[in-house]
Symmetry: C2
Subunit: 500 residues, 2 copies
Amino acid sequence: MYEDRIRRKDLMGKIMSAEEAAAMIKDGMIIGTSGFTPSGYPKAIPLALAKRVAEGEKIKISLYTGASVGDELDGALARAHAVSRRLPYQTNESMRKAINSGEVEYIDVHLSHVPQMLRYGFLGKMDFAIIEAVAITEEGNIVPSTSLGNSPTFVKAAERVMIEVNLSQPLSLEGMHDVYIPEDPPYRKPIPLVSVDDRIGTPYIECDPDKVAAIVITDIKDNVRPLAPIDDISRKISQNLIDFLSNEVKQGRLPENLLPLQSGVGSVANAVLGGLVESPFENLSFYSEVIQDSVFDLIDAGKMTRVSGTSITPSEEGLKRFYKNLDEYRKYIVLRPQEISNNPEVARRLGSIAMNTAIEVDITGNVNSTNISGRRMMNGIGGSGDFTRNAYLSIYTTPSVAKNGDISCIVPYVSHVDHTEHDVMVIITEFGVADLRNLSPRERAKVIINNCAHHDYRPMLMDYYERALKQGGDVHTPMLLNEALSWHIRLQETGSMKIK
Amino acid sequence: MYEDRIRRKDLMGKIMSAEEAAAMIKDGMIIGTSGFTPSGYPKAIPLALAKRVAEGEKIKISLYTGASVGDELDGALARAHAVSRRLPYQTNESMRKAINSGEVEYIDVHLSHVPQMLRYGFLGKMDFAIIEAVAITEEGNIVPSTSLGNSPTFVKAAERVMIEVNLSQPLSLEGMHDVYIPEDPPYRKPIPLVSVDDRIGTPYIECDPDKVAAIVITDIKDNVRPLAPIDDISRKISQNLIDFLSNEVKQGRLPENLLPLQSGVGSVANAVLGGLVESPFENLSFYSEVIQDSVFDLIDAGKMTRVSGTSITPSEEGLKRFYKNLDEYRKYIVLRPQEISNNPEVARRLGSIAMNTAIEVDITGNVNSTNISGRRMMNGIGGSGDFTRNAYLSIYTTPSVAKNGDISCIVPYVSHVDHTEHDVMVIITEFGVADLRNLSPRERAKVIINNCAHHDYRPMLMDYYERALKQGGDVHTPMLLNEALSWHIRLQETGSMKIK
C-alpha cells in the first residue's frame, strides 16, 4: 500500500494514526507547519491535537506557518485554546478573535523574513515540523503538495518531522516545486534566479529520514475559500490599473509585456488581476506568492506564459479546474519557498510590478494593511512589504469607501502604518489613479484627494489639508495633530466617518 | 598645467570659469550633483549659480544629489531661492527652512532607490550632472573625490556633464572607488558582491567625453561638520549596545567578529560606533554609507579590517587625519555608489547589523526618523530604510529624552512612521535594551517602557498602555485613538510632554 506515495520502505514503520502523532506534541512546544493560504497545510494531526486539548489536556503551542492556513489548523486549534503564540500571518475568524482578545500573542512578520529569522535563532528552537506531502522519495525527501511556504526551512530547523501524506493531492504535483534555501551570512551567495521560470533547486524538500517521527495518511482536501463575485468597483479599479499601465508603456517606462506582476491575495486582488484578460497586454509573467483563479484565466487566454508562486490558492471551482488541467498548468507554473518567491533581492532584480490591497491610505501616501482603527488585527502584512519596497512599481488598490460609505478608505492619517510614504508609488480606487512618484507630501495630498477619494469625503479631506497648510509654522507634511485620527474616533463613536 | 588632473588633452578646451559654466543652467532644469554628506560635492559652480540668482535672474532648478551636501550647494542655492524641488536627503539649515516653509517640494526617498528611479524615467530627464573629481582619465572618465553617491547614474543619465576638478582633493584618492551600475529589469543580474571588500567595477565613472560641457578648476575644501563631544548618554548607549552584541555572540546568534556593521550619520551614531574601540570584538567589518571619525579609530586600534561606504564624512580633524594617513587607510576602504553601498540585496546577503538613530520610537516599535511632531522635516530617511528592513539585526538607538527632558523619545504613538513595527528588532537608550524579536505589540510595549523609557515618563507610558488594554473591544495593538498623539499636542501647547 502507498508504494507510489512512500517510496522509502524503511519509513513504512513510521505510519501511524493522527492521534498517535498528535500525542507527541507537548505543552510549550514550537510547531512549524506547511501551508500558505488554505493550501498544502496539515489537517489530520492538528484536528487530532485540537480534539485532545478540547477534551481537557492542557497544551499551548507556538504555531508557525507559511502564511494563513485552513480552519482544520488555525480554526480548530484556536477554538481549543491550544495556541499561545502565532506567526507570521492568518486569516481565520477564530484565530483572529483569539489574537484580538489577548489570548494569542501574534507576531506580524514580513513573510520572506520568517525562515531566515528561524535559522538565525531569533524564533526559538522548533520542536516539530508538520508537513503535508504528496509523496516521500526513495531518499526520504518530501514532495510537497499545493504550497511550499516555509516548509524547507522548517524541515531543516526542526528537531523532528511529521509528514501528512495526503491522498487527495494528485501525485502529478511532483515536479512543480523548486526548493532552494540560501546559506546564512557570512556565507550567503547571490540567489541565482534571473528569470521568472528559472529553476535553481530541487523538486523536493531535503529531509533526513532519521528525523521523521510520524507519517500519517489522510485524504482531507484543501479547505479552499470561495471568491466573491466580481463587482463593478473591482472592474473600475482594474480598468484604471490597465489605463495606468498602458500609459507607462506608451511613455517608454515599461516594456510592452510589462514586467513580472505580483498580486495580493483575496477577491479584490483576484478581480483586479483578472481584468488583464481583457487588456491589450501579451506574454505576461507573474512572480508572486499566491496563484489564484485569475492566473488560470490569464494562462487559458494565452496572455500569461510564465508563473512563479509559493502556493496554489484557488476557489473550489478553481481547484477542480487546476486538478483537471494539471498537466497543462504545470508547464507554466513553478512553486518556490516563500523566502524565494518573496525575496527582496529577486523582486528588485526582476522589476516586480507590485499590486496589493489596502485597508486605508492617507493623504500623504501611507498605507494601513493590518490594523482596523489602529487596534484590531485583520490579517497581517503578509508579503506586501517584501514586494512593495523592492518593486519597480508599487501600486495599492482600494475601493474609495467601505461599509456602505460610512468608512472612507482615504483618511487624513492612517491609524496604523505598514507601508510608508517612502514606499508607495501609485494609489488606485474606482475613481482614478494617484501617481505619487516624485511628488512631495503636499503635492501627493492634492492628487490623492482629487483623483481617488469618494465625492462624499473629498470636501472634508480638502478642508483638512488646507487647514493643515495654514496652521502656524512648519508644514512639510500636511498634518493636524489634534484631528489626524478624528475620523476614526468619529467612526467609533457614531458608526460613520461622515459628520452627521 | 593640470596634466596630472586632466589627462585627456582634447578636454582642456572645456576648461572655463565657474561663472561661464553656471551660465548654462536655465530655469526649470533638473540638475544632479555629486556629493553625499558634505563630501565630494561641487562647490564653485553652485556658488556662481547662486550669485547669478541672488543678483536678480529668475532661475528655479530641481536639485538631485546623493544625500546631504555642503552649504555652498544646498545653503547658497536655498538662500538664493533657486531651488523648486529637492531630493533625496538634506541636512542644511537654509534648505530645511525652505522645505518646511513650503517653498521647496522635498521628496524623501530611500537612498538606494534614487538611481534606479532616475534610470526608470520616474524622476524626469536630467539636464546636467555636476560632478566633483580629482582627475579625468585619458579616456575621459571621471575619478571622483571623497564620495560616490549617485554620480555614476547621474553621469550616465544626464544630457550633459560638468566636472569640477578640485585641487584640494588629493590625487591619491584614485583607486579607492569601485563603480558598478546594475542593468535594469528585465535584464538585471545578481550583484556579484559577496564580501565587504570585493571589487566588482571600475575605479572611475565612465563618461562619454562628448557629454562634457564644462570643466572648472577649484580648490574649495569639503565643508565638513564638527562632531559634538562624546557625552555620557552616548557612552551608556554604546555600552548597552556592546553588552547586547556580546550576549548575541554568547548565545551563538552572531559570529565572534560579528557581521558587517552599518551605522547612521551624526555625532551620536559616531560615538556609539566609536565605543566599539573599547569592546572585546576583533576583526570587525563595516558595510555602510558614511565613514566617520570612529571608523578611523577602529582601523587605528586594529579592530576593523574591512570598510565599505559611499562617502568619507569626517570632522575637520578627521579629514586632516584621513588625508595624512591616506596611503594607510586606502588599504582598508572601498567607496561604492549608494545604489550598491545601500543595496537591499547586498545588505541581506552580507547580514548587516544596522544601527540607526531615531527621532522618536513608540511603545509598539514604530520609529520616526524624519518629521518633528508629524509636520516639520528634520533631515530625511536617508539610507536607514535600505538597511533596516534587510538587516540581520536592525537596531535603533536614541537618548530616552530630548530638550532637557521636556520631550520623551519614547511616545505612545509616533507622529510619523518611517520604520514600521515589522522592521525594528532592537531599541537601545541609555537606560537599556528592548529586544523586540518574536514579541507581539502588547509584549513589546512592556519591554520598551520598562527597559528604555526615562523614569520621568515610565509611569505615564505604563498608564497609557494599561488603559489601552482595558478599553473595550479588540486590542492586538495597544492604542488609544484619542490619546495617541496627545503627548505631541501637549508639547506644542505647553513646551513639554510632561503634565504640569
